[in-house]
Amino acid sequence: MARRQTATLRTLRPVPPVWEIRLDLEYAPGAGSYVLADLGGPVREPLFPSVVDDTGFCTIVPRGHAVTRYLPGTPIDVIGPLGQGFRLSAAGYVPDRLLLIAEVDELPWLQPLYQAAPSVALVVEATTRGRLPPPARFPPTLELTLVTRDGSTGYLGPLESDGPTPVGIECALPRVRELVAWAECICIAGDMARYPALARLVQEVRFRPQTDFAQALVRVPMPCGVGVCDICRVTTRHGERRACVDGPVFDLMDFLE
């Protein structure tokens, strides 16, 4: 149901290189779903939660975003929650072992899942060490695997590639395979262009994973949120789908080529 609500901007704070804002809202979006907020532009903007609780949610916006100039207490018109978020109990039970995989810029959208299962492993990939959040920002219960594209810390990425590895640096792929074999459910947030390769990786390890074993968030512009504008269409192996209503979380295997 597309619901109109008024959110209240509660707090704003810089979390370099971005800003975190908190909105009080009666019906907040769950992990991977979103609300469409009227932030003064000619089209609404999708806001995904980085933290969700009983009274609202937090989200991340880029530095300089118009909303960072709003005052706390400002009412914001939103439509939502909208879309299909992460579906952890898709198999009929809550998984014990959850694997989260994110590119660092997309990491906030997996944050609400950090405690969604008894054992949660997180793989974060960044171009270089300086782009990774400090380890203190992660809860100690997370089993953390860091991947950098330049090998400056952790494993060498990209995580789906098994290219040549310089001596003394471990390639990420074997570690990722191990975690894929371990997991009962996988949630991914990254560049959609990498999803076919990640789908192949999961297929290699799990052969024929059940529906929604691995789920991937697709973040594209979504100005209408109700499936009428066709701007958010993504190509899947079942044909074109609209991220706003059919997603934005899809079965990763939908991206197998």
Binding site: R4, G41, P223, C224, G227, D230, I231
Partner: protein, 298 residues
């Protein structure tokens, strides 16, 4: 009642002079939680082609200040699937459905018009023309829609072709004219290398409140002179805007992609227009007085 197709054998009467523009509202029900459909005059569907069409690749929206450019390639599931899936919805809708046809070849338009003529709930067609059509091509498309089907045919004229096409298509038998499809525009878009040093551009349909004065210009030139009802479309963002269009001679207004931001604008415009309708015996005098004042200013 407003008669949108006074020269057509069945006519196209609508109760309220407000409807969504094609491409902004889906096939009827997507906004049912946010918009009271019964307050509208009609629903105009997303563009429909006879055969399925895929979405355009690449960036599909560019936003800048108060305007935005959209390039979707008008994807369509194809007429048969649309009828199969939306047909049951159209039957239930409390208002007439106007199907927007993507005008490609006359034979396709004719076939689509013939199919749609038997679909319950569908009361009219709106023909979307591309900018590059000659008058003769546009006329052939119109003729195909009118002759192969028995629904009233509205023609939506591209922004850049209003002066050229609107009067001639009205004469050629269009039951009503929609002024106008959004202009084509190019926007620089974010991205490229090294923080946007390398500019990229996208071309598409332009939307925004700045279209509204352009619409009024088109209405002031053509509404009332075409001999058929005119539907105003472009940048209408408030009940006052809608009233201005009617004052300049439009019979009906369409709200374009601005409704994605404020879907209930459709309802607020509808309520305002219904409330503002003058008493029948004073209607003519008021409108002509308003028009007179406007013409003097123009």
């Amino acid at each position: 009642m407003i008669e949108l197709a006074p020269n057509h054998k069945y006519g196209l009467p609508i109760a309220v002079p407000v409807m969504p523009a094609s491409g902004t509202f889906g096939y009827g029900e997507a906004y049912h939680d946010l918009v009271d459909l019964s307050l509208l005059g009609a629903i105009v569907t997303n563009p429909v082609s006879l055969r399925p069409r895929r979405a355009a690749h690449g960036q599909r929206i560019g936003v800048r200040a108060d305007h935005f450019v959209v390039h979707t390639g008008w994807p369509s599931p194809g007429l048969h699937r649309v009828i199969r899936e939306a047909g049951p919805v159209w039957r239930r809708l409390p208002v007439p459905v106007i199907v927007h046809l993507l005008a490609a070849r006359p034979v396709d338009v004719g076939r689509a018009a013939a199919h749609l003529s038997g679909v319950r709930g569908v009361r009219g067609l709106e023909l979307g023309l591309t900018e590059d059509l000659s008058f003769a091509e546009a006329r052939d498309l119109l003729a195909a829609a009118a002759e192969e089907g028995d629904l009233p045919v509205i023609v939506k004229v591209p922004f850049s072709r209003v002066d050229d096409l609107a009067p001639r298509l009205a004469q050629a038998g269009a039951d009503a004219i929609t002024l106008m499809s959004p202009p084509r525009a190019v926007l620089p878009v974010a991205g490229g290398e090294a923080g946007g040093q390398v500019a990229r551009f996208m071309r598409g349909r332009l939307y925004g409140v700045a279209l509204f004065p352009l619409l009024l210009n088109a209405l002031s030139r053509w509404a009332g002179k075409l001999g058929v009802p005119v539907i105003a479309c472009g940048g209408i963002a408030s009940p006052e805007d809608a009233l201005a269009c009617l004052t300049l001679g439009a019979a009906v207004v369409q709200i374009d992609a601005l409704l994605w931001r404020v879907p209930w604008l459709l309802n607020s415009v509808a309520r305002a227009l219904v409330q503002s309708q003058p008493q029948p015996d004073t209607e003519q005098d008021d409108v002509s007085a308003d028009q007179g004042a406007m013409e003097a200013n123009l």
